[in-house]
Symmetry: C2
Subunit: 131 residues, 2 copies
């Protein structure tokens, strides 16, 4: 059995404000530098490029068959409950790869215990600096 | 020299949608359970209670003199660059405690390397599950 080519898209909301986008690029670089050969890219839901749609199409063109979409959100509001699943369904349909393409939308990263732990450590470091 | 009473407020955007607020409560509980006696609370910038203003006033009433505001945001847009600093300046002025009250607004947690590391670990765990 051949191994599926897998990639991860970190999904951010997007904004027309370049100041807002810059930290996501910085975050992506930090994450990429801590990983090995795993393919990880950014995608914006709206208002900025690279868009989710263009990133998925690009990865599929490169032969990726399993795409994990990991939202850089703290909570699942309307965007993550409705808009993004609809975008992904439409993409899945348009690309017409059937079961050879799996796009998986994950819970927002704010719900992962790793992130709660990280924030806990940041709080502790602040407390130690203050006192 | 007496030690200042310090508390941390985790600042989220806020929403009128209860589905959106619930994960922040969950995140707060996870963080509180990982900490010792440090005082950590949630505050919303708008559209939901407890508001930033009410949380600061409540902590000051309890005798807290140093309040760290840690935004649960990935990037500093207009809200964090303008709206929140203005709210904190007005609070500082209204509360009229002078240098006995220090309110410190920190960068958004998305800029801390601890959070990038946590997301990197989440990505790795996903890749391992997929392959």
């Amino acid at each position: 059995m051949t191994k599926n080519k897998q990639a991860t898209l970190l999904l951010a909301h997007g904004s027309s404000d370049a100041n807002w986008l810059a930290p996501f690029e910085q975050l992506l670089q930090q994450i990429q530098s801590s990983l090995g050969n795993e393919r990880v890219e950014l995608a914006y839901m709206e208002l900025a490029e690279p868009s989710l749609k263009n990133q998925v199409i690009g990865l599929v063109d490169e032969g990726y068959q399993h795409i994990d979409v990991l939202p850089l959100f703290f909570a699942a509001g309307r965007h993550l409950r409705k808009d993004v699943p609809k975008m992904l369904e439409e993409l899945q349909s348009d690309l017409n790869k059937g079961p050879d393409l799996q796009i998986q939308l994950h819970p927002p990263i704010g719900l992962f215990p790793e992130v709660a732990d990280a924030i806990g450590r940041i709080v502790i470091n602040q407390v130690n600096k203050t006192s």
